[in-house]
Amino acid sequence: MTDIPTVAPQLYLQSRSRWRPIEIVFWLATLLPFWLFPDYLSLASQIAVASLFALSLDLILGYAGVVSLGHAAFFGLGAYTAGLFSIYVWGEVFTGLIAGAAVAALVGYASSFIISRFRHLTLIMITLGLGLLLHEAANSAGWLTGGSDGLQGIEVWKVAGLFSFDLYGVTAYSYTLGVLFVVFLAARRLINSPFGLALRGIRENFVRMPAIGADSNSHIRKVYTISAALAGVAGALIAQTTQTVSLEALSFERSADVLVMLVLGGAGRLYGGLIGAAVFMIARDQFSGIAPQYWYFWIGILLVVVVMLLPNGILGGLSKIFARWSRR
C-alpha cells in the first residue's frame, strides 16, 4: 500500500469540506450577468430559482437515493403559499419565503411517513400519485388558487424595504441569487455533517444501514422534510419574482424538468443541480422559438444520451476527464 496516511483522520475529514478555489470562481461568476448580460437578468433569476429547486431534489435523490417523480408538489405548495401570503397577510418577502418553506415542510413531513416506508417502483408511484393528487386539488380549489387561470393579484413589498422589483430584474436576480447562496451554504453544511454521511450511507447500501444500528427511515423522513422546505423556498421565490402562480408549478412536467436538470448536471454532487439548471434553462431560452413539443424531443434525446453515455452527468464526465488528464 502506498497510501500511508500523511494527515490525521480528523484533519483529513475536515479538509474534504474546505472551500476549493473553483467554487469561489463559480460563485464570483454568478455575479457576471449584472455586467455582461444586463438584458438577461430575469432569465438569470429563473435559473437561480431552478438551481435551488434542483438542489432540493439532490438532497433526497442524489444523497439519499430516494427517486421522486412528484417533487413539484413542494415547489407548488411554496409558490401558492407565498402568493396567498402576500395577498392575505402582507407583501414582505422574507416572511413570505418562510411561510412557503414552512407549509412545504409541514406537508413534506406528513408525507415522509409514507415515503420512508417504500422503495423502488412503489416509491416512484407514490411520489407521482401524491404530486398528481395535489395538482388536481389545486385545480379543483379554484376559489383559493384561481384554478387554471392561475393565482392573480400578488403584490410584494420592496426587499428589505429598499429595493423594489424592477423591470430589468436587477432586484429579482440579486434577491434570488442571495437566497440561493444562503440555502447552498446550508446544504453544503448538511452534506458535510454526520447526517450527510448517514445519507450517503443510505444511498451506498440501504441493507447495511440497520446492521450498523442506523434507523434509515428516520433519516429519510428528516431529509425529505428538509428537501420539501427548500423546494418550497424555490416556489416562493418564483411567486414573488413573477408575481403570479400557475397550476404549472405543481405539474408533472415541472417534476420531470427538475429531474432532468439534476441528472444532466450530475446527481449527488452539490453543484450538479446548479450546473444542470443553468444549462437547461439557457438551452430552453435559446430554443424558445420552437414549439414546446419539439423542445421535449431534444430533452428526450438528452436523457437517452446522459443515461447511455454520461451516467454521472456533466460534472461526472468533467471530473472523469480531469482525473484522466491529471494522471497523465
Binding site: 435523490l61 427517486v67 417523480l69 409514507i114 416506508r117 417504500f118 423502488h120 417502483l121 412503489t122 416512484i124 408511484m125 407514490i126 407521482l128 400519485g129 401524491l130 398528481l132 393528487l133 388536481e136 386539488a137 385545480n139 379543483s140 408533472f252 420531470a256 429531474l259 432532468v260 441528472v263 446527481a267 414549439a291 413539443q293 419539439y294 421535449y296 424531443f297 430533452i299 428526450g300 434525446i301 438528452l302 436523457l303 437517452v304 446522459v306 443515461v307 447511455m308 451516467p311
Partner: protein
C-alpha cells in the same frame, strides 16, 4: 328499469377493459425484469396512429387495422429492447426511469411532427356505432365490444401463461429469476418475447382507445399515469391483479366523473395512494 348506477358500472367496466389491455403488458414485464418502462404508452400511441393511417389514408376496415396495430408496436418494441433496454436491466431504477421518460418525450415530439397536435378521429363501422336499450340501460355497442375484447385477451393470456411451455417459463422467471436461469431457461429471450407481446397488446389498446378517449401526441403521458396506477395497484407480474385493478380504476374514474365531476381525476389518485398504503405490493402482489 335499472338505476343509473348500472350504467356507470357498465361504462366503468368497459373502460376498465380498455385500461387492462393497455397495461397488462407493462405489469408482466415489470414483474419479469423489474424494468420500469415509462415509454409503454408510447407503444400504445403507435398502435393508435397505425390504425388512423390505415383507416383514413388506405381505407382499411377497422378490424383489419387491429392486428396491424398490435404488430407495429410489437416490432418496434423488439428493436428498442435490442438497442437500448437490454443494457439497462441491471441499472438503477433511476436510470431506467430517465431513459424511458426520454423515449416517451421523443415519441410525443415525433407524433406531433407527423400528425400535428390535434385529435385524430376515426369513423367506426356502423355496427359498432349505435347503442341499444336493455331494461332502460343505454348499452353502447362499442363498449360492449371492448368488454368482449377484454375477456378474449384475458382468456388468451391465462391460457398462454397457465398452459403453454412458454407460459411456464414466464411464470418461473417472474417467480424466481435466478432459479429460472439455473434451470436453463433463457430469461433474456423470454423477456424479449414477453416484452414484444406486452407492447403489442399496448398497441392494440391504443387503437381501441381512439374512439373512447381520442388520440393526440399527449397520449403517451396522459394514459401512462393510468397504466402505472393499474400496475402498481394490481401488483407486479400479476395478470389477475391487473384485471381487477383495471376494473376498479375504470369504475372509480367513470363514477367520479359521473357523480363528482368537480373532483376531476382526484378520485383515482386517491384510490391508488390508499391501496398502496394499505398493501404496498398491490392487491395481488407477493413482494
Amino acid at each position: 328499469m335499472l338505476p343509473p348506477v348500472f350504467g356507470v358500472l357498465f361504462d366503468g367496466i368497459a373502460y376498465g377493459m380498455l385500461l387492462f389491455v393497455l397495461s397488462v403488458g407493462l405489469s408482466v414485464t415489470l414483474g419479469l425484469m423489474n424494468f420500469v418502462n415509462l415509454a409503454h404508452c408510447a407503444f400504445a400511441m403507435l398502435g393508435g396512429y397505425v390504425t388512423v393511417i390505415l383507416m383514413r389514408d388506405l381505407h382499411w376496415p377497422f378490424f383489419a387495422t387491429l392486428p396491424m396495430a398490435f404488430c407495429a408496436a410489437a416490432l418496434l418494441s423488439i428493436v428498442v429492447e435490442r438497442i437500448l433496454y437490454r443494457r439497462l436491466y441491471r441499472a438503477s431504477d433511476l436510470d431506467q426511469v430517465l431513459l424511458t421518460i426520454g423515449l416517451a418525450f421523443i415519441s410525443v415530439a415525433i407524433a406531433a411532427w407527423f400528425f400535428g397536435t390535434q385529435q385524430q378521429p376515426i369513423t367506426l363501422p356502423s355496427y359498432l356505432h349505435g347503442s341499444f336499450n336493455v331494461m332502460g340501460l343505454n348499452i353502447a355497442a362499442y363498449r360492449l365490444f371492448l368488454i368482449a375484447i377484454g375477456i378474449v385477451v384475458t382468456v388468451m393470456l391465462i391460457v398462454t401463461v397457465e398452459h403453454t411451455r412458454f407460459g411456464a417459463q414466464v411464470r418461473a422467471a417472474v417467480d424466481n429469476q435466478r432459479m429460472a436461469r439455473g434451470l436453463g431457461i433463457d430469461v433474456d429471450r423470454t423477456f424479449a418475447i414477453t416484452f414484444a407481446l406486452g407492447s403489442g397488446l399496448a398497441g392494440l389498446g391504443g387503437a381501441l382507445a381512439i374512439e373512447i378517449v381520442g388520440l393526440d401526441p399527449q397520449f403517451a403521458f396522459t394514459y401512462l399515469v393510468y397504466v402505472l396506477i393499474i400496475v402498481s395497484v394490481g401488483g407486479l407480474g400479476s395478470i389477475g391483479g391487473s384485471f381487477a385493478a383495471a376494473c376498479l380504476i375504470g369504475v372509480s374514474d367513470i363514477a367520479g366523473k359521473y357523480y363528482a365531476p368537480q373532483l376531476g381525476a382526484f378520485l383515482i389518485y386517491l384510490v391508488m395512494v390508499a391501496v398502496l398504503m394499505w398493501r404496498p405490493a398491490g392487491l395481488f402482489g407477493r413482494r
